[in-house]
Amino acid sequence: MSTELKRVLYNISALADLGQEITSESAFHEKMQAAFYVITGTFLANKGAILFYDKAAKRLETLTKKGFTPADLEQLAPEELMPLGKNKPCLIGDTPFLAVVGAEVLVPLWVRDQFIGALLLSGKLTAGPYTLEDLELLSIIATQIAIALNHHSLFMDLSDKLEENQRLYEEMRRIYHGTIQAFAAAIDAKDAYTQNHSHRVAKYSSAIARELGWNDHDIEGIYVAGYLHDVGKLAISNDLLNKVAPFTPEELAEIRKHSTLSHNIAMKINFPWKNVEDMVWHHHERLDGNGYPDALVRDTLSDGVRIITLADSFDAMTSKRPYREKMDVQTALTELKKCLDSQFDNKIMLVLCKVLDKEIKGELPEPEILPNLDKNSDLSIISSLLEGIIAELSTKQSAA
């Protein structure tokens, strides 16, 4: 085989290497470094550089180089390179300013009407000049490099837009949550005895949902429902909410309107989460159908409703009310257990106990229930009670 034919085969093989590197799954800078090695290995160049045009800064950024100093490359002005042609190699003889930089050949890189960068080479190990064949090959290589740089540029533009959108979304999300929390604060402010109740119900509900394996989006939804479940109380008079004496039947009926009022308010908001309105509306329903406002029974109550119902009752029991002192955690758990099947769901109760047990044992990195409970509670007694309930409910669940 003649040397000339071997050289042609080597060049074809180099183009194949370049294609393989450019389309590889490697990181962009690795791709460019490999492509640069292909170029210097093809021409045995001892100096070279691939430059990327930063449109925003209107300057050339060095992606990879060999032999050139940063000072050499800083002398290249994009506006001087743009008129030199598209992906066509320019020799030093045609463009004297290249001599200043120390480049022997330069290719301005373009994709359609976009100037994308430049490729520079200088010197050959064999000390020969860049031949016409070399320049033709370099033109093909330059086109491929330009396309790869353009893809990177487009990707960076998209990444920037995505980042900006994510930032805006997070900002909106913070505002959204802030508004909801302000609502909750307004509700809780009406009733001196239920301060932070909405916050705690949101925390407890999301902790239970997380333990149940809900996804982050749905957990956020129940967190919001927890915050808003009593928003209807804004329409109930302060005197009634803070009344110490037992309610008359009329007053009780008035108080009970709050869940429907909560629903009426919540339904006007276009939530990105499903079932928030339903969870807010039915947080006083019971499994046995004796709840309100719709006396729904077992199968018609979603897990979300069952979670909010239990979290709401647990917090109500462990908080002081105008008509009674707060219960200790053990008593509250025992009371909740008495109401299983009729009012509360076994499965949700089991999960609440598991979460609380894990929090006491330090197994959860960010406890959400324990920090809100009475600081003087005897955790060993609570833990022992929880273990008993967990064992009993687990057995029941396995049997079912």
Binding site: Y10, D17, L18, E21, A34, V38, T40, G41, N46
Partner: protein, 120 residues
């Protein structure tokens, strides 16, 4: 057949470093060869023998990396010897004109002898 992952080992023989590339010298993992030589050059070694007995193939990326080693040695007036080359490697180096910038031996021991003789 799964290609052999490129790797490099080396040893010092007298005042010469012998480098053993293993596998297809065709991607960025070949930078290990340049780095390995760079370590010896950094320690003041100016004689490097590259034993290609376990590298049959090389592409443009490998050539570029080898070129880098040759330039690094040239800058310190060093010597590069290549040994145990396959026919493909030898033909490629000849066709590109690289062979004039290295000293080629059939086997590693001949290169070591040559470098030792140059020292004394």
């Amino acid at each position: 057949m799964k290609p052999v992952q490129f790797s490099v080992t080396s040893k010092l023989v007298g005042d010469a470093a012998v480098i053993y590339p293993k596998g297809y010298l065709n991607n960025l993992s070949g930078e290990g060869l340049v780095n390995e030589c760079g370590i010896y050059i950094g320690r003041g070694i100016t004689k490097i023998v590259v034993n290609f007995s376990e590298t049959d193939l090389i592409n443009s990326i490998g050539i570029s990396l080898l070129l880098q080693i040759m330039e690094d040695l040239r800058n310190i007036r060093g010597t590069i010897c290549c040994t145990n080359m396959s026919k493909f490697l030898r033909d490629t180096f000849e066709m590109l004109g690289l062979i004039q910038h290295m000293i080629v031996f059939s086997v590693e021991s001949d290169a070591i002898k040559y470098l030792k003789a140059g020292t004394t």
